[in-house]
Symmetry: C2
Subunit: 143 residues, 2 copies
């Protein structure tokens, strides 16, 4: 669960640090590779993919496929397990991931289960759309 197994190599630390710092952005394997190159800490792509796989299994990152992109996107996820207890909103414009603590939405979750027989996978389900900030910005641009 907590990915504590394994060696604490500088490559692993560098990858993890980058993921954490970009908690609210789409991150691809290529982006990690590029960033590390620029920072002077070159890490082979194979190593990056191997770590992402492990982080995925341990639940430390989520994996997305964003719109038109062909490559997978990863995002650091909270480890406290709360992410299986609430929905997530993802802004299609800025890429921000919002952890939605909302009883109204959870009522819908219960309703779907009880009245439709459908058990929603909270971890996997993501509401795509546009967040308040991006909508306001959009409105301002259209003057």
């Amino acid at each position: 669960m907590n990915h504590s197994e394994g060696y604490k190599t500088k490559q692993r630390m560098a990858i993890l640090e980058f993921l954490k710092r970009n908690e609210n952005a789409h991150v691809t394997a290529a982006m990690i590779s590029d960033h590390l190159d620029q920072t002077g800490t070159h890490v082979g792509v194979a190593t990056i993919y191997r770590h992402l796989d492990r982080l995925l299994e341990s639940g430390e990152v989520r994996k997305y496929t964003v719109d038109g992109t062909t490559s997978a996107c990863y995002q650091y996820a909270r480890l406290d397990g709360q992410c299986r207890e609430h929905f997530h909103l993802k802004c299609e414009k800025c890429g921000r991931l919002i952890h939605l603590e909302c009883s109204h939405a959870m009522q819908t979750f219960d309703h779907l289960l009880e009245d439709h027989g459908f058990a929603v996978d909270l971890y996997r389900t993501v509401f795509y759309g546009q967040c308040r900030e991006c909508r306001e910005q959009e409105g301002a641009e259209e003057e």
Copy 2:
């Protein structure tokens, strides 16, 4: 919008027919290719991808990335425009796409917009989980 532009070739018809007949299943480009080969109507993969792209743009098909799979999945979508007015549930087990006509869920949609400022993209948002039938079947298997 309605993809009526373009020639009515037998390749395009064959692809579209297969997609429609498998409205409730995950369909990959490879599956289309295989099926058409077996039916005796060989169609080059390039043609298949080109049509899928066009159908995607016109909104006639949706594109998914299913869990462990590496290739994209496509699914025929209704054309009547109603799909922008309700949520969708997707069973992770049987692949069925459920068009959810549910006022409770739509209340949540309104709530997210009014109280959280988040405009959900109904067409893109999909609730992943398990449908009633698959859950019952699962329960029966565990005897």
